[in-house]
Structure formats: C-alpha cells, structure tokens
C-alpha cells in the first residue's frame, strides 16, 4: 500500500496512492495508515482521489481504521471517485463519515 502524507497543524492528509482498496489491499491497510499517523494528529483526512475501486473488504478496512484512531483522532474522507462514491452510498457508509470533494476542501472547511 503506497501512501503519501501532509501535515497541516493537527490535521493530517494521508493520500492513498493506489487504484484499488480491494481484498488484496485491505490486508494491513489499517496498520499501515496508523503507522504514518502523527502523535499530534487529531483529524486524519484520507484522500481517496486515486482510488478507482473499493469492495466490502476495503470498506471494512476503513471502518477498522476509524475505530483504531478513535477517540483521539477523527477519520474523514476526501476525493471519492464516482465508483467509490457509489459503493459508499449503496452501503450508506456515506452517512457515517464527513466527506469532502477534495483534500483541499477539508482544510478550508474543517467540520470540527
């Protein structure tokens, strides 16, 4: 799992540099992201702009990450591509996350 990360104060943007969060990518996903999460981060925005496909294992991995980070750090999502957005809507996972059109929006409009 390739990631890149930017710190903006206590907000950290972690970009998933992969086209798929599927059963293969879901293995180790939460620990990999947790591993790059800084101690001072209280809000982690997962930038999914490069992710073209997600399956239920990927959704499960994101929920597992949310639980692992809570309560000290809130997980939010940005840049959902159309297929990923459809999977989130279908499973209603869009109702449990704060979603931003893109990562930059998450810095301008923090839903704190």
């Amino acid at each position: 799992m390739q990631l890149s990360s930017e710190q903006h104060g206590s907000t950290q943007i972690v970009k998933i540099e992969e086209a798929r969060i599927d059963a293969m990518a879901a293995i180790g996903f939460k620990d990999t992201v947790r591993g790059v999460t800084g101690d001072q981060t209280d809000r982690l925005v997962l930038d999914l702009n490069k992710v073209e496909f997600i399956d239920s294992s990927g959704l499960g991995a994101i929920v597992a990450l949310m639980k692992l980070l809570a309560p000290g750090c809130k997980l939010e999502l940005a840049g959902l591509t159309s297929t990923v957005q459809k999977v989130f809507r279908l499973t209603r996972m869009d109702t449990i996350f704060t979603l931003y059109d893109n990562a930059a929006d998450s810095l301008h409009d923090p839903a704190v």
Binding site: D22, I27, G60, A64, K67, T83, K86, V87, L90
Partner: protein, 158 residues
C-alpha cells in the same frame, strides 16, 4: 462485439483482482456503460471474495469458474466452485448493516451480500454434487430497478 465470456481463476485476492480486470476489459468491448461495468465489477468482486473466504477458507488455489452472457440489457452470470457449501445450503440473507451505533460498534463486514442482493436480480444458489453454483443477473441499463431493491435507497442509481 463480445456477448459471452468465460474466465477461470484461483480463489485468492491477487488472482481475483486480475480476473476482474480481464472481465472488465472483455465487457468494455461490448460497449457497456461505465455504470454497468462498475456494477458488474462490484457484484463479481463480492461474490469471488466470498468464495475465496468461505468456500475455500484454507487454500489459495481453489478453482472458480465464471461465465457471463449478455442478453439485451442484462448480464446473465454463473459462478462455480468446488469448495465448502453455503451454511445451511442456502444463500445468506440480504441484511443491511445498522450504522446508527457508536463508532466502536460499527460493522466491519457484512456489506458484501447486501451489495450482491441489491445489484443483482434472480439470484440463485445450488449445491450440485461437490460444487457450488451461483446464478444471477446484473441489469446493464442505467437505473437499477428500485422495486427490486430491498432497501428504501430509492435515489440510488449505479
């Protein structure tokens, strides 16, 4: 224009990823919409992952055969595997996860069958001798038949 495909693969995440890519490439030549290609890929991903995880829990080389035929605006599909049968010999129910719970209690699984049931029609499972056979249809037209959708997600059009 392609109207039929048949793909065999080993039941592990790497082969499944590769196989889904192959099937999408084949179906793309049939000029399906991106929405239809997405829908087929989501359904097949969930079904194949389920077979790998539950029919062949202790092996990563179990055989899966997938066949599909386009009839009008429907893709008629069949998957076959030689793994363990479904619990009780029947399809898992279509249950929507309850998300109105505390973060710590949110479900990390169970989304798969909900998506399969929602995005397919005429889903049937049979255990025939030593094999599992799943037959289903994926609508390829733009808007999914909301009457067949088991949840009140009426605005959903994949």
């Amino acid at each position: 224009m392609v109207r039929h495909f048949a793909v065999s693969l080993a039941a592990n995440p790497g082969e499944i990823r590769k196989g889904l890519g192959e099937i999408r490439a084949i179906l793309a030549t049939a000029r399906l919409s991106v929405e239809a290609l997405d829908r087929v890929e989501i359904v097949l991903a969930e079904i194949l992952n389920n077979i790998a995880e539950h029919a062949y829990p202790n092996a990563d080389d179990g055989l899966i055969e997938i066949e599909g035929d386009i009839f009008g605006d429907v893709l008629v599909c069949r998957t076959v595997d030689w793994g363990r049968q479904m619990p009780g010999g029947v399809l898992p129910p279509c249950e929507e996860a309850d998300l109105r719970v505390a973060v710590a209690d949110l479900p990390e699984g169970g989304f798969g069958w909900f998506m399969i049931h929602t995005l397919t029609q005429d889903l049937r499972y049979a255990r025939i001798d030593d094999k599992n056979e799943l037959r289903f249809q994926v609508p390829l037209s733009k808007v999914i038949d909301t009457e067949a959708t088991p949840s009140p997600t009426l605005d959903f059009a994949l």
